[in-house]
Symmetry: C2
Subunit: 483 residues, 2 copies
């Protein structure tokens, strides 16, 4: 290919642009309000521009983009990427193909199968099956579809109208994707029965059993329990062993949403927190979260081999011909609800190949050690108060209580003020580019902060102390301004 | 960051690896059967390896991967990528973030909105809304969900059991994703009513109207017509204007699956083929197909502003807080069924910014010219026979009839032999790395070839002639071996 308008020369510039725009001295964020940013950026595409101008526009976009690879990006459950994973993502993009058939993705198909096999062994379901999906919410859909098809195979042809009234269970701290899934799949959100959590965010399993019984007595069919291994906010892990017992007793499908906490399975030390996961009927795990695979990298696993294919196949004649010249059982696309499907397994394979089981184990242990340090520090630091004192996943949740509010009567007004101050502190932290941190209310808890930790970049204790200091400083500045 | 086991130095190697493994002298494919390829590749990840060994393993994987960027890759409706698009994909991966909130993706959010606006103008629905989705099949799900919610908002809470019996319509040549969608969403595949197509692959609109009336008379609710602008095999475009009239008459939602043919809208000359698309209620288009954005780049559009949000929102408190310090209407994530969502708009923006409307117009005209040349050549070349003689999208479908079969009685056995020989020719073409071409049966047609053309790499007439020659040569070789 020639250069110039063919754009090939632009590819040569990408690495430099990325390196320069992510350089260590660039701020985490240069926040601009939407309308202001619209006025700054030259986004119109009507008239083409030359490479020089394009580079300028791209750099401007990146200047105002968040540098999620910095240690002070703690806004979400993802963050910096594993450089091996990023290398894999780049290569997969360059070798642009779809995961559906062996003929167009021979090596990538084997890699997806190998990674699924390795992960199935890791979770303790060696004979299961799985697929990479475009995110945890889609994995939730896969789980519900599999459970429904297993219980009522007629649903595929006849739809939900042919089924009895079906209910699914999830904890109040679980991810909202189950509600979206219940809507999309035609269950309706009312079919989602929400089980209370204890103070540490774990499903109250006694309530689960009672609720299942109640639903059965009301003539409804309990289809699916969504246990969570790593809730979004507190990082809580439900008691999977007891959930498994209950599911077995009432013949309910057990799904484990381990999108966040699944990464703990990589650690010899911490994997016991997910004990019972090996009894699940289906599991989702997002290596694009804690583990640092570039977005998207999401795994859906299912115990019963063949079920994914049976449930989802449509046997398209133009794609999954049975008269091909090779073993078409390697055409895995008909297990998927997607047609074209990105090569998300390759980046994970590269990370894993580079680090091996032990390398990933070390990163997991380190991330948990960092979170432990953070929790211990928060526990004894004046002005900080933990929301939950049990470290399950590497989430540390706490309120910052400004000096002038300490040792006051913690009545409704006091909490209302905390609720207001927390987002204000976050605003100041963001505006000053010191830290991007999550905040959230939860159940009866007013707005609090969540510091969650991920594999990349690797943090030291000093980083954590800096973050807490920044929160403290901004917390006091904010209250000064309010007084 | 330091190098070595942190993997940053590996990123520096990626461009070279990609360039070398995609060099012009590498074969399109080095086909190995699955078991043989498994034996060659070192895929196990249990033990980590050093960078040198990793590079070796990666190169081996790429050696046996298909070079989809070559002109002789005509196996699917995607192919080579636009280098600007690939640059955009690499940058988006490096700036790893999710499209859900403005705070973590400020510039990327504005870019998605800008691209949606530009594309909405292009299709003629300037006041509509949209979202980038992970592929055309997901866009089909979005379409059905939007239509269902619009007609029966109670479905969100109550599910499909609260609805009357609902049916949807699609042509027999349309994409199989509507069947998967009907299963997943709880309609059941029986609710998909298949309308016949004419010899050029277009929906017989007279039948559509009759079928709608019949369903109404049987007490079922006609919800959704899926018109296709560019069927997978023949590239047929349904008569969108008439479909729109019928949909309006019976108050049925009109969806246009323009995943493949939507790219023709980029051309002043060819856009009239999609006349009527501006009357649709929803549209899907995959710029990762003809236009050459790297996989995945898929757009779902809807006429009614606000509907996507209303239908899909779950208002997660931890993510879409309403007490943020900026205008949260820029948090677009709750329009989506996904939570984390890749920055798929950025690569498309880069391509468009580089080329402008006129650059993309030229590429569209060129691809259609190439297809026209191919069709004309096939029409008059001995031994080739067109399946459809009308060029709609840049798909050219034909049988190759080996010499010994020409001017014979074309009875059932003759066609059975053609059906068998076609995949054999494909096998030989693949094994000899001369050409990867699609084949398929369709309706009563026995297996035939499909040459479909995409923007990248830009083909000349000589490329097309080489492909036809390769088919001819392999066609004769195969029959020699069979005789």
């Amino acid at each position: 290919m020639d250069n110039g308008k063919n754009g090939c020369s632009f590819l040569d510039k990408v690495l430099n642009i990325v390196k320069q725009e992510r350089a260590s001295n660039t701020p985490l964020i240069r926040f601009k309000h939407p309308k202001d940013l619209e006025a700054i950026l030259d986004l119109d595409v009507t008239i083409g521009v030359d490479d020089e101008k394009l580079e300028q526009c791209v750099r401007e976009v990146l200047k105002y983009s968040v540098k999620t690879d910095k240690s002070i990006f703690r806004n979400q459950l993802y963050g910096g990427t594993d450089p091996y994973g990023l290398s894999g993502a780049w290569i997969a993009e360059a070798f642009n193909t779809s995961q559906y058939t062996f003929e167009v993705a021979p090596a990538f198909t084997l890699i997806e199968l190998k990674m699924l096999r390795h992960i199935l062994n890791l979770v303790g379901i060696p004979n299961g099956d799985g697929i990479f999906s475009p995110g945890g919410s889609l994995s939730m859909l896969y789980g519900l579809v599999a459970a429904r098809y297993k219980a009522f195979p007629e649903v595929k042809m006849k739809g939900m109208r042919a089924l009895p009234e079906v209910v699914v269970f999830t904890s109040e701290d679980s991810h909202y994707s189950i509600k979206k899934a219940a809507h999309w799949l035609g269950f309706g959100t009312e079919s989602v029965k929400v089980v209370k959590t204890n103070e540490n965010g774990q499903m109250v399993v006694k309530d689960l059993e009672e609720m299942i019984l109640m639903e059965i007595n009301s003539g409804r069919y309990p289809l699916f329990v969504n246990a969570t291994a790593g809730t979004t906010v507190l990082g809580a892990i439900d008691n999977l062993e007891i959930v498994a017992d209950i599911c077995k007793k009432y013949a309910v499908w057990m799904h484990v949403d381990a999108c966040w906490g699944g990464s703990l399975l990589l650690s010899q030390k911490h994997r016991s927190k997910l004990r019972g996961i090996e009894k699940a009927d289906s599991i989702s795990w997002n290596p694009h979260k804690m583990t640092g695979a570039p977005l998207q990298c999401s795994v859906f696993l299912v115990r019963e081999k063949g079920l994914l294919h049976e449930a989802n196949s449509a046997a398209a004649q133009y794609l999954f011909q049975q008269d091909k010249f090779y073993d078409v059982s390697y055409d895995t696309g008909d297990k998927s609800v997607q047609c074209g499907r990105k090569i998300d397994a390759f980046k994970l394979w590269m990370m894993w190949k580079a680090r091996g089981d032990s390398g990933l184990c070390q990163l997991t242990d380190h991330v948990m050690k960092t979170a432990e340090f953070c929790m211990e520090t928060v526990a004894r630091r004046p002005g900080f108060r933990l929301v939950s004192e049990v470290l399950q996943c590497p989430n540390v949740c706490f309120w910052y209580i400004p000096r002038f509010m300490r040792e006051k009567d913690e009545n409704e007004n006091w909490w209302a003020l905390i609720h207001k101050i927390t987002p204000k502190i976050k605003e100041l932290l963001t505006m000053s580019s010191q830290l991007m941190v999550a905040y959230s209310p939860l159940r009866n808890h007013k707005n609090f902060f969540r510091l969650a930790f991920t594999f990349h970049p690797k943090l030291e204790e000093a980083h954590v102390l800096d973050m807490l200091l920044a929160i403290e400083e901004c917390g006091e500045k904010v209250t000064m301004a309010m007084l």
